[in-house]
């Protein structure tokens, strides 16, 4: 194309090779030129490369995500907004979303994890909700590896550093250790917020002539290219060189930003609000314009900078943290800036809403970029996947750490000490789970976290997703992840209101990864429809592959439910001498294949998981939920990794009281096999009789003493606790 085709006289055109270096394909570059009617200049190319990245544009996942159920009467905001939200009555709304920060955390775990928390919090208060809780979902390689211990230690410290200082309770989470995450760890963070329905705000810009105000931290060179270079490509050698693409978090700045944003909204000063995340001003401004069907003029010379000599494209794509963009009527601008001053937050008018259809970038009044908003947001190419089930197993068998043929006694202790089952206390004790004074159930008190709401009711939250089970069978494994969350909610008396998900997968351009992703989303859709739980939003993280292959496919599910009385929420620990212990829900012997025990023994992943009857399991959940709400049960615990005997041991440890089991069938699969839909409950004989009216159960023992007794075997609580405390050695 000739130079005369650009309105920017004398400016160099970076061209197709530069576009490829920034992550676009040649076809995408040609499409961008077509939409623009000319070749993009440096500013425009930077904007295209980021908004058309997988991270921002969902190029390989959007078509699949459209198949998910996203409707419910209780839903107030759904996919497409900064976070989803559901109505909890009396004019109150709970907002929530989960998001990944995987590659930054693999490159720089402390800041990567910290800014993951900061980013998801901004999504919550961007819709006008006060952030009240964080949960995290972590995946690392086996803890025998020095690199894993480094990543774990620093990621946990980063989450704590940010969440504790910003003043939002970290109330729960989960962590799995599996070899395929060795080079590509996963750090997903979920946040919840609470809002009055009338205070909520959307991101759509409106009203030509209205002012565009950037407030919060100043803009620097950090995180440039984070969304395209880091988040939308596989991790390879020399990832240290990508460290400058990782942002640095400042929880104090975020704390002020939360208060400032909420005060602006409470005083009704804003037309719309949006956080700055991946791709910085570029994505925020174009998404606000797109949602409102308006144009935006934005002058980079008016953006408060950390470094004086930043180029326009750097200002447009900087991912400096703790910044928000809002639209306000001209008459309100002084008041908006005064609130910023009160909270010691920098605020500046950087542009205005226009009646046009373009995002125009100016520098001191001179246009340096001019792109139709639709080209950036709506014209991002969407690709069909080419899924193909793999002909041969994708993953090596796990490394054996336990010999075959161990005694029941040894097996239970080995399972309790195994990284995926051992107590998470050394991690969660580093998080403030209490700030806000809403926490009714803390970690290790119950299967789900419970928060008290201003309505007097409670909400229950759980996050889960076993990648190994999904690797075995992406469809059924994903169904299991959702059922696991629903089971956790049932244990505290919670009824699901909605879920958010983060789909962590490998490179979707590879047919077997495309197959994992399509099957997983199919499972997610089917189970959500069967349980009548809407997907209120989420996030996709692709290209999670290291030099040794893809991660286990890991759909992380975060589910929120409601319960009438937070003080009646169930607890997982046995509590009363003489209570009857019952096994609820299982009518078949659970298989050992694919279980935690099979992993410890180094068995290859089986080719499928057993089919589940979702309706039948939902009926069990309902019976459990009702019994908990009626305060009928002393304890309630869902059977997950490690199977029945591990669940019983966990309930004994949590309650610091023993249990005598009367099982006569000591078959290994019976004790350690895994299958969704099973629970260990305790209560007085009459309560267990009542529960039996609703659901099949088997009385398997009684609470009491200071040991777990099974036939001739006795484990003292002390030795169970010592085994369960195995992770403490990772945090010397």
């Amino acid at each position: 194309m000739s130079d005369t085709a650009t309105p920017f006289r004398g400016q160099a055109i970076p061209g197709v090779e530069q576009a490829v270096a920034l992550g676009l394909t040649r076809d995408e570059y040609a499409l961008a030129c077509d939409k623009l009617g000319r070749e993009p200049n440096e500013v425009e190319l930077a904007m295209f490369s980021l908004l058309w990245s997988e991270h921002c544009g969902y190029k390989h996942s959007k078509k699949l995500l459209r198949t998910l159920p996203t409707e419910s009467e209780r839903m107030v905001m759904g996919p497409g907004e900064n976070a989803g939200a559901v109505d909890i009555g009396d004019g109150w709304v709970v907002a929530f979303k989960v998001e990944s920060h995987n590659h930054p955390s693999a490159v720089e775990p402390f800041q990567g994890a910290a800014t993951g928390v900061g980013g998801i919090l901004r999504d919550i208060f961007a819709i006008g909700a006060r952030p009240i809780a964080v949960l995290d979902s972590l995946r690392f390689g086996e803890p025998g590896s020095e690199r894993t211990r480094y990543l774990l230690d620093h990621a946990v410290a980063g989450i704590g550093h940010y969440g504790n200082s910003v003043g939002v309770a970290t109330i729960g989470g989960e962590v799995y250790f599996e070899a395929p995450y060795e080079t590509n760890c996963l750090v997903n963070a979920m946040a919840l917020g609470l809002a009055r329905r009338e205070d909520m705000i959307r991101s759509a810009a409106a009203g030509p002539g209205n002012a565009l105000i950037l407030f919060g931290a100043t803009t620097g060179r950090d995180g440039i290219g984070g969304a395209s270079v880091l988040a939308s490509a596989e991790l390879g050698e020399g990832e240290e060189s990508k460290r400058p693409t990782v942002q640095v978090g400042d929880p104090f700045a975020e704390n002020k930003l939360i208060e400032c944003s909420l005060e602006l909204l409470e005083r009704g000063l804003l037309v719309s609000l949006q956080d700055l995340g991946a791709a910085g001003l570029t994505s925020s401004a174009s998404e606000m314009a797109s949602a409102g069907g308006v144009g935006i003029d934005l002058d980079v010379a008016r953006v408060p900078l950390r470094e004086a000599d930043m180029a326009p494209f750097e200002i447009m794509v900087s991912e400096s943290q703790e910044r928000m963009l809002c639209v306000a009527e001209p008459a309100r601008v002084d008041e908006v800036l005064a609130v910023c001053v009160k909270w010691e937050v920098s605020g500046a008018v950087i542009g205005e809403v226009t009646g046009g259809d373009a995002l125009r970038v100016l520098q001191g009044g001179v246009v340096v970029g001019d792109v139709p908003v639709a080209a950036l947001v709506d014209d991002c190419p969407l690709y069909d996947l080419a899924p193909e089930a793999p002909a041969a197993p994708l993953y090596d068998p796990p490394e054996a750490t336990l010999a075959a043929g161990t005694s029941v006694r040894e097996t239970l202790l080995a399972l309790l000490a195994s990284p995926n089952i051992a107590s998470r206390r050394p991690l969660f004790e580093q998080y403030d789970c209490l700030v806000g004074a809403r926490t009714a159930r803390r970690p290790e008190q119950a299967d789900a976290a419970v928060l008290a709401m201003p309505t007097g009711a409670g909400i229950a939250i759980s996050i889960d997703g076993s990648g190994r089970r999904v690797a075995i069978d992406p469809y059924r494994g994903t169904i299991e992840a959702v059922l696991e969350c629903a089971a956790n909610l049932a244990c505290v008396g919670g009824d699901p209101l909605g879920l958010t998900n983060c789909l962590n997968f490998g490179n979707p351009e590879k047919p077997h990864i495309a197959w994992q992703l399509s099957e997983s989303v199919r499972g997610l859709g089917d189970v959500c429809r069967a349980l009548d739980v809407p997907v209120v939003g989420g996030n996709v993280s692709l290209y999670n592959e290291g030099a040794d292959g893809p991660i286990y496919p890991t759909p992380v599910v975060g589910m929120v439910g409601e319960l009438p009385d937070p003080l009646a929420a169930g607890q997982l620990g046995f509590s009363r001498e003489g209570d009857v212990v019952a096994l609820v829900g299982w009518d078949a012997t659970p298989p050992l294949a694919g279980s935690e025990l099979a992993k410890l023994r180094g068995e290859p992943l089986p080719s499928e998981l057993p089919a589940t009857d979702i309706a039948e399991i939902a009926a069990v959940h309902a019976a459990i939920r009702d019994a908990v709400r009626a305060r009928d049960l002393s304890s309630c615990h869902d059977i997950a990794e490690g199977g029945l005997l591990v669940a019983v041991a966990e309930a004994a440890l949590a309650g610091a009281i023993g249990v005598r089991l009367t099982l006569d069938d000591l078959d290994e699969a019976r004790l350690f096999g895994e299958l969704p839909g099973g629970f260990v409950v305790s209560g007085d004989a009459a309560a267990i009789d009542r529960l039996e009216q609703r659901v099949a159960l088997q009385r398997i023992g009684s609470v009491g003493g200071d040991a777990l007794v099974l036939g001739d075997e006795t484990w003292s609580l002390g030795e169970l606790r010592a085994a369960h405390g195995a992770l403490a050695t990772l945090f010397p």
Binding site: G160, N164, S165, P251, N255, E429, Q430, A437
Partner: protein, 222 residues
């Protein structure tokens, strides 16, 4: 009715909870760090959090705020002042309380329920307790290891200025297991555990309410 003032800095996190605890036993008003007017309150609570981000030494910046100058005067006049966690750190930095709070011995943030023993019931914030009484109150901090030089430590013990002590091992490595202290005049008390997070059935323990109830017994103007 006792009127409490809760002092809020940028970065304070447990201010709403402290105010709510005060309002269970009296009246409460939120005070702003930039305003030196204490609005005639009867007692001051400096709550927990990370004032100004605590990127320097904890509490080192907050002590210079206009409101803190007034709190120092209020304390010199004998007014009851309670510092919780970051508030304790700020009161130490301001010279209202002896000693200093160093990073925890494990160099990690810790959050869990802790048992503390009330050593002395003769302060405005413990007079509703019995000496020797055990309270279950959560700790949550990164810099809670109480330290004073050996001579000062000895004097604190001799003067009965150690108001609260952890039962068993101190979670943070505090000297002599100290969880909270008071000044010589006994009107200023600081502790690392968070009594405002143990005032309702929801919290699993209501032991912390005794500290606020103690202050509510103080007649206005003492």
């Amino acid at each position: 009715m006792t009127r409490f003032g809760v002092l809020r800095f940028p970065g304070t996190c447990d201010d709403d909870e402290a105010l709510a605890a005060c309002e269970l036993v009296g009246d409460g008003v939120m005070l702003w760090h930039g305003d030196s007017d204490l609005q005639g309150v009867d007692a001051i609570v400096v709550p927990g959090g990370f004032s100004y981000g605590d990127y320097l030494r904890c509490g080192a910046i907050a002590r210079f705020s206009p409101a803190m100058a007034s709190v120092v005067e209020f304390a010199r006049d004998g007014g009851p002042v309670l510092g919780i966690c970051n508030g304790f750190q700020i009161l130490c930095e301001a010279g209202l309380l002896p000693g200093a709070l160093l990073p925890n011995i494990g160099l990690r943030f810790i959050c869990h329920q802790a048992d503390i023993e009330v050593e002395h019931a003769d302060t405005p914030f413990t007079q509703a307790c019995e000496a020797g009484e055990l309270l279950s109150i959560p700790v949550k901090h990164h810099d809670g290891r109480f330290y004073a030089p050996p001579e000062q430590l000895e004097a604190l013990e001799a003067n009965g200025q150690v108001v609260f002590r952890y039962v068993g091992d101190a979670p943070n490595g505090s000297s002599n297991g100290i969880a909270g202290v008071c000044n010589e005049r006994r009107n200023v008390v600081g502790l690392m555990p968070h009594p405002e997070h143990a005032v309702l059935p929801l919290h699993g323990s209501e032991d912390g309410l005794k500290l606020f109830a103690s202050a509510a017994q103080v007649p206005a103007g003492v």
